[in-house]
Symmetry: C2
Subunit: 406 residues, 2 copies
């Protein structure tokens, strides 16, 4: 597998585009992805009881097991908590695309992100779709525009493309994602779209994506808020011409690894661009009784406001890490816990089998001054491990979210 | 029942004191409460798997059902994650008090609050206890000193005393508490001590306290972090001379109401003094299927970083409230949900049975500019309701916790 300079429309048979149509004040706010041929899909949706209109729409199509042709995404308005009108507006979006591109509205998935509880400016959106539909192509610039059109408070574009080879055929996978607030590790908590030209059975694509999400998107946290709009959608249109993957053979493994890479990359990018984040945290826990326990503890640490503010303050207040593990719901013996901080090749051990170590405060401070910080935790309950990613809690998070709507 | 000018040593037979002994840099850091006669106790402790040394010590005494004579509390160091030495230091604290006051070490409860993972400066603590033990009395000033000695990042003293009458005898209840970070609604998440001279059977005192905690301390949140050291302890020494309360009769109800008032007052004070808080939030939810569901949703709203920053920013971003209810784990139909903000006698309805209302942004802003804000939620699932209290998430929370240890 190797990374290529590409975008969401790099896999064979895909077109894309993104532009400003007037939902937001000036930044790009509409993106469309289109596949020449029907693509099987795998998707995961928010677990929030309050589901935005596009989530409900997409879940129905996902459950029908029918292939799709297009995804339309608007930013600037989440179309959530918008009642019956929200559902109607959502269907209108699908209908407009369908009409423009000569496909069925049931072949269109929709995603929205932005403020909750405000009706979509549907006329603006419809006109925008009509206009953007005519501009879709397979140029790199258009693909990057699509990546930009789904951003809200994001500060960096989240875009990746990779290539693999299956029985002599070149297969491309590409992904875009949107962070960066309301991110909490509980099933697909953001928007992420992956296209591929691989030929693969839907059941295997879905198995792979579900599995991968558990270890990628579901192991990141920005602020503990699980959004109403989250989804990951993977489209596979089979146009690479590889021998169709119908079982978990070597081809499946190669494809799986590439899909894993794309999703892990996007998940980490989302966290790196967490609202107001000044640190990227990687928490690894080894020696848990079960993988579930390991994940619970890692997520609890990543989600603790006190751990996050300590990292922001570059303060080696490791007791907060143990405290967060303690209320995670997982059982463990704190008297067998060890803990270290690591950055840029340097490590400092702070706790050894339950005993706090006298440590070099200067070295600890030096380590915590880095942008990328690892927190390594060792237990003696079993052999399970987990890794997750998060960010610190900064003044800017408060600023961004105190002023979001205004 | 009426509120009196009093302190933790106002009930008959109690002495107290608090002073600076050198654990912190300059603020008072040691408090002692003493009862002339043995007092039955009711207590609740943190549910965190990682329990500080004093929590483990107290739980054993609580389980023995034996009465106690004294509580010693130090601030500036939590004696948590301190291993075997932590347990030894804790016992040493109890022993020192016991020796000074001529009681058994098993009649002494201990509490610690402050930084985690640093061994206690035990010599300093022991000398401090020896000195403070000689200064205990029933003066108001000494009681207020005790309230001050348990503070960490608290900015206001949390102290209350009330009087009731039971069969012609005056009964006094007094309480002190410590906030203000690592506060999360999951069983007694802070330090709170209540003394009374009422004569009441232990089993009833425990029943009352447990019940009251569910609706008071367990319904507040500052930052979602459940501490390793939390406890509520109520002592009743029977010296008021009332006819002993041995059943849930009228006397019990009068006492229960007074105990409820004291604990609710302290719980609200803790939240009002939440780290960096600039707003006091009261969330009430009516019409839930069960009380458990109602509590889950209220706590989820109070705990949402996005709701909290919106309140800090005085932004009527009510969609975040519905979003937080949605990931609380409770089931409800968002299409039947209504929501309003209220402050200072003015209300604004934002959502009516699932439909967002066009609302007067100026009025919403005016309401949110108040310090005390109510969020009222109405569902149509059943008749259960719950109320909880919290605060906003401000720049100062980040500042305080980024610099806590240093």
């Amino acid at each position: 597998m190797h990374i290529i300079e590409g975008a969401i429309n790099s896999p064979k048979g895909y077109k894309a585009g993104g532009k400003f149509v007037g939902i937001k004040k000036k930044r790009k706010d509409l993106s469309i992805i289109f596949s020449e041929k029907p693509a099987v899909i795998a998707a995961l949706f928010t677990t929030n009881v309050v589901k935005a209109a596009p989530v409900t729409w997409n879940m129905k199509i996902h459950d029908s097991h029918k292939p799709i042709r297009s995804i339309v995404i608007n930013s600037g308005n989440a179309n959530a908590c918008t009642g019956k009108k929200g559902a109607e507006d959502n269907e209108k979006m699908a209908e407009t695309i369908a009409l423009e591109l000569g496909i069925l509205k049931e072949e269109v998935l929709v995603a929205s992100t932005g403020v909750i509880g405000v009706p979509l400016p549907i006329d603006t959106v419809v006109q925008g779709i009509q206009s953007l539909s005519k501009e879709l192509d397979d140029e790199l610039a258009s693909g990057l525009n699509a990546a930009e059109g789904i951003m809200t408070t994001d500060t960096i574009l989240k875009n990746i493309a990779v290539e693999i080879e299956l029985d002599g055929k070149k297969i491309t996978l590409a992904g875009i994602a949107k962070g960066s607030g309301m991110i909490h590790p509980n099933m697909a908590t953001m928007l992420s779209f992956i296209t591929t030209d691989a030929d693969i059975e839907e059941v295997l694509l879905r198995k792979a994506l579900k599995d991968i999400c558990t270890n990628t998107y579901n192991m990141i946290s920005v602020d503990g808020d699980t959004s109403t709009n989250d989804m990951v959608i993977t489209m596979a249109n089979g146009m690479a011409g590889n021998k169709k993957i119908t079982e978990e053979n070597d081809d499946y493994q190669v494809f799986y690894q590439a899909l894993y890479y794309v999703n892990e990359h996007l998940a980490k990018e989302i966290v790196k661009d967490g609202e107001g984040a000044s640190k990227f945290l990687e928490v690894t826990l080894e020696g848990a009784k079960t993988v579930e326990d390991a994940r619970l503890m890692v997520k609890s640490v990543l989600n603790s406001s006190l751990v996050k503010t300590a990292m922001f303050g570059e303060d080696a207040n490791w007791g907060r890490v143990l405290c967060a593990m303690g209320y995670s719901g997982a059982e463990f013996n704190p008297e067998k816990a060890s803990l270290e901080f690591e950055a840029n090749g340097e490590k400092i051990r702070l706790l050894e089998e339950g005993l706090p170590l006298k440590f070099d405060e200067d070295l600890a401070y030096k380590i915590l001054q880095n942008h990328d910080i690892k927190i390594n935790i060792f237990l003696e309950e079993g052999t399970a491990k987990a890794t997750g990613w998060g960010c610190d809690l900064s003044y800017d998070y408060v600023k961004i979210n105190g002023e979001y709507r205004t």
